[in-house]
Each structure stands twice: as structure tokens, then as C-alpha cells.
């Protein structure tokens, strides 16, 4: 069983529907007991980092996530579920989980396109992810595949070594990271058509070994 962490962070049902479609039994839950029994965990998220950390704390899921990470349970973070894994986020100056060293920054207001137009914030829509490492979770995803993004903040890992994917939006930023049994992506695989479903399918079959 796959646990989809429920911490009142936006639309969790879209992740559930995608996993249902792929045929993997899953459950939206915030019960630590149930989550500990899961084979793997999806940590989704839409919304603000501050509010998310607050909810995680109230539910005791912040400690549980650290515990699961140490216990080598495969974890997939999505969007805000990636952002709060870092030390801190500039969004409401939020102290985050600190599982990954680094910070989450706001896109500068001054970003421009190749043609000189000011870029819109949020970064919303389809953009290419260049996967630079041969990770199990991104296996068989064709080069040049695009994924659906919606965000105004981006992760800046302390070490580039954890980045497995990068994306260009007036600047290059890290859009996918992997450390041990943890993979996290800034885009929404559940809303990214075939390449997104492929990534989810890969994750659901992954042993968690780096």
C-alpha cells in the first residue's frame, strides 16, 4: 500500500487518481500508524510553505517524515512536498524539515525571456526537465519530455550533487532531486500526461536503493 500524506495541502485526490489509474493501491491518510505500515509514501503539496509546515507539525508528520527517511522507505515529494524538505523557505521565512541541505527561494521579479519580456510569476505551465542522472525513477522518460509546473519558489540545494533534473525559466533551477530513498520533484507528475505517469509508475516499483 502507498500512503499519500494528508496534511490539508490542496488537491491530494489528483495523485490518488493517477495511482489508481496505474493500478497501485493507495490511501490518503494522516494516521502515523497507517503511514508506518505503508510500503512507500507520496508527499504531495499545493499551497504555502508556512501553512504546510504548520499542518505537518500539528499532525506530527514532520517527525514521521524524518523517521521514514532514515528507515529507507521510498518517499516521493511533489511541489511543496519537495520545498519543505529543505532547511528553509523564503516563503513566509519558513523553517522547514531540514532533511535536504539548502533553501527555497522566490523567482526574482526581474527574470526575462530570450526576447526580453518580463517573465510571469508563477512559473505556470509545461516546461522541459533535463534529467542528468540515470535514476530508476526517471527511467524510460524520453529526452525532451515536458512536465506541468505551478510555483513561484524554487529549490536551491546546498550541493548540486543531489540534483537529478534541471529546468530553464529565465535562469536554470533544480527541478528534481534524489538522495538515498528519497526523490522529490518541483513539477506535478500527476498532471503531466504520459511522462508524469511513467515517473509515478517507476516510483511505485522502485526499491528505494540509490
Amino acid at each position: 500500500m502507498i500512503a499519500i500524506l494528508d496534511y490539508k495541502a490542496g488537491n491530494l485526490t489528483s495523485v490518488m487518481r493517477a495511482l489508481d489509474y496505474l493500478g497501485f493501491p493507495c490511501r490518503i491518510t494522516n494516521s502515523p500508524e497507517e503511514i508506518r505500515k505503508a510500503d512507500r509514501v507520496v508527499f504531495p503539496g499545493v499551497g504555502a510553505a508556512g501553512k504546510s509546515m504548520e499542518s505537518l507539525g500539528e499532525l506530527g508528520l514532520d517527525k514521521l517524515l524524518r523517521e521514514l527517511f532514515s528507515a529507507q522507505v521510498p518517499i516521493l515529494g511533489i511541489c511543496v512536498g519537495l520545498q519543505v524538505l529543505f532547511d528553509l523557505s523564503e516563503e513566509n521565512q519558513t523553517r522547514c524539515l531540514g532533511i535536504l541541505p539548502g533553501a527555497v527561494r522566490r523567482f526574482p521579479d526581474t527574470l526575462r525571456s530570450d526576447r526580453g519580456n518580463l517573465l510571469k510569476i508563477p512559473h505556470m505551465g509545461w516546461n522541459e526537465v533535463k534529467f542528468r542522472k540515470n535514476h530508476e525513477v526517471v527511467r524510460d522518460i524520453p529526452a525532451g519530455s515536458e512536465f506541468y509546473f505551478v510555483h513561484s519558489y524554487y529549490p536551491q540545494p546546498e550541493s548540486e550533487d543531489i540534483a537529478i533534473g534541471t529546468t530553464e525559466y529565465g535562469m536554470a533551477f533544480t527541478s528534481a532531486v534524489a538522495v538515498k530513498n528519497l526523490v522529490a520533484v518541483q513539477f506535478h507528475p500527476e498532471k503531466s500526461g504520459k511522462p508524469g505517469l511513467r515517473l509515478l509508475d517507476n516510483f511505485c516499483r522502485w526499491s528505494g536503493a540509490a
Binding site: T13, D109, K120, K194
Partner: protein
């Protein structure tokens, strides 16, 4: 770089689409779920369902459509038409839509944008704007006025002011429809689209007037739109999304090329 989005819009009445009569193959003509799936497979970047029934007693029919669409397509889709309250928004989002579009209700009660953005996140809230070109006046300095009821009721609100105000209130995106161009298939209102899109920092979807691929090129390029809504030109089988995207990409507009 971020791709420009091509977004088919399906008008739904009592759970059936109102256009799409020229579909062949195994499409159940008129079923929004089948048509949504069809466009998903054809390379739509997003889909809009617009409920033109929009009366509250008929809402369960639309919610059922939304639920079934969400089970079969894995790209973002939004639902508009008759969204008036926070409760309406919640119903549609819980049924599986990514975004809700508020239109006339927001003109009459702007606070619904703020409430929706606070409850569900800015990215969920699309402001639908129906706009008509009018004479420049003190009240309407941009020469574009907000209208409702399909253009029959003028609101005395300047469209440019309203777009900025909606952004301030927390709208995550604007779907900008020109009432003058709507249904004409002679091209989008470029001047209007450019005016609004360069005045706000949130994405703007151009709507109304698409008849051929060239129109999309114009609005995404000169019009500075981030996305383009299309209807008849694909519903009647005149063009496929692939043809439109090929044309755009040959002309230097970045679009999602594989799906």
C-alpha cells in the same frame, strides 16, 4: 523554456457538450468525458469545461462530469460557469478539477477571488473576463469595459483596472475573452490581449476569435498571451492540435511537442 499552452474549451449544457458534431471515429459525440480524453490524447496542454447550464440545481450533473474527467485525463483542467461561492469552488476542486474560473460573480463580488485564493491557493483561481471595446472615457480610460450576460450588461468597470485588481486580490491566472471577437473566427483581439498581458504578472489566456493557426501565432507572439483558448476550429475537425502546434513551432513559438 516554458511552452505556450493550447487549451480547448468545451461548452457543456446539462452534462453534454454543445459543439463537436463533426467528430468521427469512436468518439461518443457530445460526451464531455470522451471529448476531454480525446483532446488529452491529441496533445491539449490543458482543458476548460464551461458549464453553460450553471444553475445550482443542475450542478450535480456537472460535478459528475468533472469526477469522470478527472479519472481519465492527467493534465490540468478547469471548470467555469456559474461559480458564485466558496462552496461552489470547493465542490468543483474536490471533484478533481485543478482550477476554477470565476467570471461575473467576481465582478459583482470581488472578494470571492480573495476568499478562493486564501482557501485553495492562488493557482486554483482563474479570473474569467468578458470584455467589450468601448469609447475611451473618464470611467473607462483603457477603452475596454467589463461586461456580463454574454455582453448584454455593461458593468461600468475598466478592464485594465479590473485585471490589476484581480491580480492584487489573488487571482492566479486570467482568461481574457473578447466579446467582440468571440465566435467570429477572424482572430483574437490582439490589442486587448497585449494591453492586459503586459500589465499583470500572472499568466493570461487569450480567448475569443480563433479560426486558424495563424490567429494563435499572432496572439501568442504580438499579443503576448501565455496560452490560447480554442473551440470551433478543433471541435469541427477543421484542425488538429498537432497541426496547430506544428505551425506554431515552425514559426518560432515554443509549444509542447510530444505527449
Amino acid at each position: 523554456m516554458l511552452s505556450k499552452r493550447i487549451i480547448p474549451c468545451l461548452d457543456v449544457r446539462d452534462g453534454r457538450t454543445t459543439k463537436g458534431i463533426k467528430f468521427r471515429d469512436n468518439i461518443d459525440i457530445g460526451d464531455p468525458v470522451e471529448m476531454g480524453r480525446f483532446y488529452y490524447e491529441q496533445g491539449a496542454d490543458e482543458i476548460v469545461f464551461y458549464d453553460i447550464t450553471a444553475s445550482s440545481d443542475r450542478r450535480p450533473i456537472m460535478l459528475d462530469v468533472v469526477r469522470r474527467v478527472a479519472e481519465t485525463i492527467f493534465i490540468p483542467f478547469s471548470v467555469g460557469g456559474g461559480i458564485r461561492t466558496l462552496e461552489d469552488m470547493r465542490d468543483v476542486l474536490l471533484a478533481g478539477a485543478e482550477k476554477v474560473s470565476v467570471n461575473s460573480a467576481a465582478v459583482q463580488n470581488p472578494d470571492i477571488i480573495r476568499q478562493g485564493a486564501e482557501a485553495f491557493g492562488n493557482q486554483c483561481i482563474v479570473l474569467g473576463m468578458d470584455v467589450k471595446k468601448v469609447a475611451v472615457s473618464d470611467k473607462i480610460p483603457s477603452g475596454y469595459e467589463m461586461v456580463i450576460n454574454g455582453g448584454r450588461t455593461h458593468m461600468g468597470i475598466d478592464a485594465l483596472w479590473w485585471a490589476r485588481e484581480a491580480e492584487r486580490l489573488g487571482a492566479g491566472e486570467i482568461c481574457l475573452n473578447s466579446i467582440d471577437a468571440d465566435g467570429m473566427q477572424t482572430g483574437y483581439e490582439l490589442e486587448l490581449t497585449r494591453l492586459i498581458s503586459t500589465a499583470v504578472r500572472i499568466p493570461v489566456i487569450a480567448s475569443g476569435g480563433a479560426g486558424e493557426p495563424r490567429h494563435l501565432l499572432d496572439v501568442l507572439d504580438q499579443g503576448c498571451a501565455d496560452a490560447a483558448l480554442i473551440a470551433s476550429m478543433v471541435h469541427y475537425g477543421t484542425y488538429t492540435i498537432r497541426q496547430i502546434k506544428d505551425f506554431l513551432s515552425q514559426n518560432g513559438v515554443g509549444v509542447r511537442g510530444s505527449w
